[in-house]
Amino acid sequence: MASLRRNPGTALTPEWFADIRINAPAVERRAATLPARRSLKKEWQAAWLLNAIRCIDLTTLAGDDTEARVVRLCAKARHPIAPEIAEALGVEGLTTGAVCVYPTMVAAAKRALGNSGIPVASVATGFPAGLMPLDLRLAEIRYAVDQGADEIDIVITRAHVLMGEWAALYDEISAMREACGAARLKAILATGDLKSLTNVAKASHVAMQAGADWIKTSTGKEGVNATLPVSLVMVRAIRDYVAQTGQRVGFKPAGGLRTAKDALNWQVMMNEELGQDWLSPDLFRIGASSLLGDIERQLSHHVTGRYAAAHRQAIA
């Protein structure tokens, strides 16, 4: 665990983002043509879908979560596709990138995952709205870490972005980063609440400067969650941050990725905009719950030539 990539962050450096210009229609054009410019078929499609599984933060974040539910999720994370399909594809030891749960479910998840090596991510900081006193939010992080969480998905105070209070945002995330200790931090920007792509870009930069190890689009609870245009803006911010600091930061789209085609599209975007390193779970995660089922169906079709029924696949 000691060799895990971390982003040490930088001092708040507004000049890296103050003049940023984002043309929304142009972002959308690029996002619309990206998937059409690259095509993955047959073995290549299967391989990229399996890679997507490696990058999934298999998630349950519902008010009715129970320990048993989390245990089931963890079982799916350890064996994301049916053994006969995995065997036919010639892959061994495939797991999801992590599981993602509420803080109170971390301990159960850790137990269920045992020595599988699958990290447990916990949301924290008053997820999803984040409108709790800062000390309580920091306490929640420490609680989750104490429960054994390997990764913490924090939410930012959207108001700081909407009001252009970059120093306040930076200080908040820095404090959260410190509270995480050895756990790696994903900063959820809740892009659907930030509205403009310029806000998304600026918030991305501040989060990275404050030491986020990943920047993440959404809680899954906003009106609009991960979209390709928003993701494009965030990965370009990552590209610029890497160019400035040499430090690599990961990306996590969450909410809204439901189909195997989505998984391919986002991977193509990562590959085209950031390069192949950003196709590994260290730098790319997909926050999803139902996505895995669709990927499994596609893989099953690839192996058997038949379209699979959902009831023949193990649910998460």
Binding site: N23, R30, R38, K41
Partner: protein
């Protein structure tokens, strides 16, 4: 084939090749191809081979059209045209609609065929070319339906000869055929020699939808076939292709009264301001010069970047270029396919070599095996470098810098072309201003190479004239209501007389030219006898001086706005009215009244000949705006010396043009009477310049002047030929003014203004929020 787990280790894309079996079967079964004439495919004649540029493989044998083939096709078109035009708009619309539907039903087939024939990536033919083809026919089905309501009194032209290029074979066919048919014309179309196959597939669609025989005829062949079509008995030629060939066509057609529209080359500027979204601009380059292997007449091939952001832009551009995939066109992951032919590849390499010999540095752009050239750009390049002057027509842009907006515009306009431009700035104030200043028929703000059937497309300057698409495009396939025929008089040969000046009412009055708002003696120091005395005998130097004076007046007059111009024209009308008695005495009551009426009429129009906001794609504000040409040369009718001049000069200046008018040769004195009235009416000096003397000589000099942007000529066929030939030098449009009774009420109106403006289409995609957030749409 690698295993799945091996692919997981390197995560490359792998092959994804579109199946071309059905297309190859069709080619085998249908070839060798004859022409499509009168609704059937003729037996193949002498054939030439058509090859897949990506592999060099033979695709088909296609007939080389002879003059006899062309004549047969024109005859079939002529025979069909009357019946076609006789159908109701709704009936014609149904055929166009059926064609659109059939294109959609065969979209896969047509995309694959286009890609095989042309070498363009299947992504482009599938996602761009073929959908735009369908859109074009849908849109023009609507124009067929609405023609009589929207263009009252207009008639189709008859038989249209259409010659199209190889870069967007089926799309250019659609741009040509759809408006022609909607208006009620029949067509003979010659596809490019390299890429005739989708036109032949289209012929099958025409047959399948039951389009009346002869309405669409396709004759394949090379330049000789095209020349035969230009020489044939057609009513219009529409040509898209190189500027040199276009110039030749214009010369051939000089004096023939065959209507002509030309869509020619370009070296379009791509202006990146310092406040641009640079990532967006870099993608714009991808969509411009690295689209269709750079074989795009409107490609933003001259990238001009603000010095302040040039290093970052260059770095982003180079990084993006490295991600471009060159490869087999049928592979769905290919960005850059094959150049259309080895000859074109050699030409691109040659121009790049000239550019580097002259000191430029080529980044990327290396030739590959076969017909492939990697994307690239030339840097360290100045405006005089051949690489920055010539249209490379390959995936190679030029990259240079500017300091501020004024220099950006100056560099952007430093070209003989004027097809398109792309402007990148996040400031609406900056972007729209630059868009207004660039001389080009299409300006894309924060986008590039967007097309739509409703958005007129066409050039300024030596990029041609005429528009394709939308309301304006329809006008190029229609004839306005004809005025009552009138006789024209050939001027009597002027005899220069020594001396200048003549006594009138006992006081000597010196008749001079009117140049730059001042009365000037003719350069030659000669006069000639005319009714009422002696008139100045102008010569080429007087024309030169008049054009220079007009050029000085043009920017301010063009930019002062319709309201201010209207006030000047109303004041002029007022002053003309005050002098009515003198004007009547000099001419006639009818002429004087017509002259006064023209001033009032075009004062009224000055602020009302509006552009349109057209519907294209959602989220795009697309404005089609009329702009003055600048300097317009006018040969005034020899008859009706006052009314004729006023009927032409008033609409021209109302739209913001400045004018050099050659007055009636036989009777110039009424024009001379206008000088003082113009002076007292606040018409700025140089807006109207009047030269008298030998009409045809003066007109020839005026038409040949490269600073004159458009020419209106009222004269006989012989002089028209001289003028149109001379105009070919800078490819200025010539309006052969129809003779008419210049005092009649129908000698004024909107149809005059159609000749006084060139249309600029400005695209502005908007969006404060990502799409899907809802909101208003223009």
């Amino acid at each position: 084939m690698p295993s799945v787990s091996e692919i997981m280790d390197n995560l490359d894309y792998g092959p994804s090749v579109e199946d071309s079996g059905a297309v190859r079967d069709w080619l085998k079964q249908r070839g060798p191809f004859g022409h499509f004439i009168g609704g059937t495919f003729a037996k193949p004649g002498e054939t030439f081979t058509v090859r897949d540029p990506a592999t060099g493989d033979l695709l088909a044998e296609v007939s080389q059209g002879t003059a006899a083939d062309v004549a047969a096709a024109v005859k079939a078109a002529r025979k069909a045209q009357r019946g076609w035009a006789g159908l109701s708009g709704s009936e014609r619309a149904r055929y166009l609609y059926a064609i659109a539907r059939h294109v959609q039903k065969r979209e896969r087939f047509l995309s694959v065929l286009e890609t095989l024939d042309n070498g363009k990536p299947i992504r482009e033919s599938r996602d761009i070319d073929v959908p735009l083809v369908a859109r074009h026919f849908y849109h023009h089905a609507g124009w067929a339906e609405l023609r009589d309501a929207e263009f009252p009194g207009h008639q189709p032209l008859g038989v249209c000869g259409q010659i199209i290029p190889w870069n967007f074979p089926l799309l250019m066919l659609a741009w040509k055929i759809a408006p022609a048919l909607a208006a009620g014309n029949s067509v003979v179309l010659k596809p490019a020699e390299y890429t005739p196959l989708t036109a032949l597939a289209f012929a099958e669609i025409c047959r399948d939808v039951g389009l009346p025989a002869g309405v669409v005829n396709i004759v394949s062949g090379d330049g000789a076939t095209g020349a035969a079509l230009v020489a044939a008995d057609v009513d219009k030629i529409a040509f898209t292709g190189s500027t040199e060939v276009g110039r030749g066509i214009a010369r051939t057609l000089a004096g023939t009264k065959v209507k002509l529209t030309l869509e020619l080359g370009g070296k379009s500027p791509f202006v990146v301001m310092e406040d641009a979204d640079l990532d967006a601009a870099v993608e714009g380059v991808v969509d411009s010069i690295w689209f269709n292997q750079g074989q795009v007449c409107c490609a933003g091939s001259r990238i001009l970047v603000a010095e302040a952001v040039a290093p970052r832009f260059g770095a982003l551009l180079t990084a993006r270029m490295a991600r471009m995939r060159m490869g087999q066109p049928l592979d769905k992951s290919t960005d850059v396919g094959a150049i259309v032919d080895p000859i074109q590849k050699a030409r691109i390499i040659d121009i790049c070599a000239q550019a580097t010999d002259a000191g430029a540095e080529l980044v990327g752009g290396q030739p590959g095996e076969g017909c492939f050239i990697a994307p690239g750009y030339l840097r360290n390049i100045g405006p005089a470098n051949p690489g920055m002057v010539q249209e490379i027509f390959g995936p190679i842009a030029t990259l240079s810098t500017f300091r501020a907006a004024d220099e950006a515009v100056e560099l952007a306009n430093n070209t003989r072309y004027g097809l398109a431009a792309s402007v990148w700035s996040e400031s609406a104030a900056v972007a729209t201003d630059i868009a207004a200043r660039i001389k080009a028929g299409v300006v894309w703000i924060n986008c590039a190479n967007l097309f739509d059937a409703g958005a007129p497309f066409g050039g300024y300057r030596e990029s041609g004239f005429g528009r394709e698409g939308g309301f304006v495009g329809m006008l190029d396939y229609l004839a306005p209501p004809a005025p009552k025929p009138a006789k024209i008089t050939t001027p009597t040969a002027p005899v220069p007389a020594p001396g200048a000046g003549n006594a009138q009412d006992g006081i000597d009055r010196t008749a001079k030219l009117y140049i730059g708002g001042a009365q000037k003696r003719p350069d030659g120091g000669q006069s000639y006898a005319v009714p009422g005395g002696l008139a100045p005998f102008g010569n080429r130097k007087d024309i030169r001086n008049a054009v220079e004076a007009a050029g000085k007046a043009a920017p301010k007059w063009g930019a002062m706005g319709g309201h201010a111009r209207a006030q000047v024209l109303y004041f002029l009308a007022e002053n003309l009215s005050q002098r009515r008695d003198a004007l009547v005495a000099r001419t006639s009551r009818a002429e004087a009244d017509a002259a006064i009426a023209r001033a009032f009429h075009y004062a009224a129009w000055a602020d009302k000949f509006d552009g349109r906001n057209v519907q294209t794609k959602t989220g795009h504000l697309v404005n089609v705006v009329p702009e003055p040409y600048g300097i317009v040369g006018i040969t005034c009718p020899n008859e009706a010396p006052l009314a004729g001049l006023m009927s032409l000069v008033m609409p021209a200046i109302a739209m913001g043009n400045v004018v050099v008018a050659i007055a009636s040769q036989d009777d110039p004195m009424p024009a001379l009477d206008l000088y003082q009235i113009l002076d007292t009416s606040d018409v700025p000096g140089g807006v109207v310049n009047i030269v008298t003397g030998p009409r045809d000589e003066l007109a020839k000099t005026l038409a040949a002047h490269d600073d004159v942007v458009a020419m209106w000529h009222a004269g006989d066929a012989e002089s028209l030929q001289t003028v149109e030939t001379a105009a070919g030098g800078n490819l200025k449009p010539v309006w052969p003014v129809t003779p008419r009774d210049w005092t009649a009420a129908d000698a004024q109106g909107r149809m005059m203004l159609d000749h006084a403006v060139q249309w600029k289409t400005i695209w502005l995609p908007y969006g404060a929020l990502p799409a899907g957030a809802g909101g208003a749409a223009y």
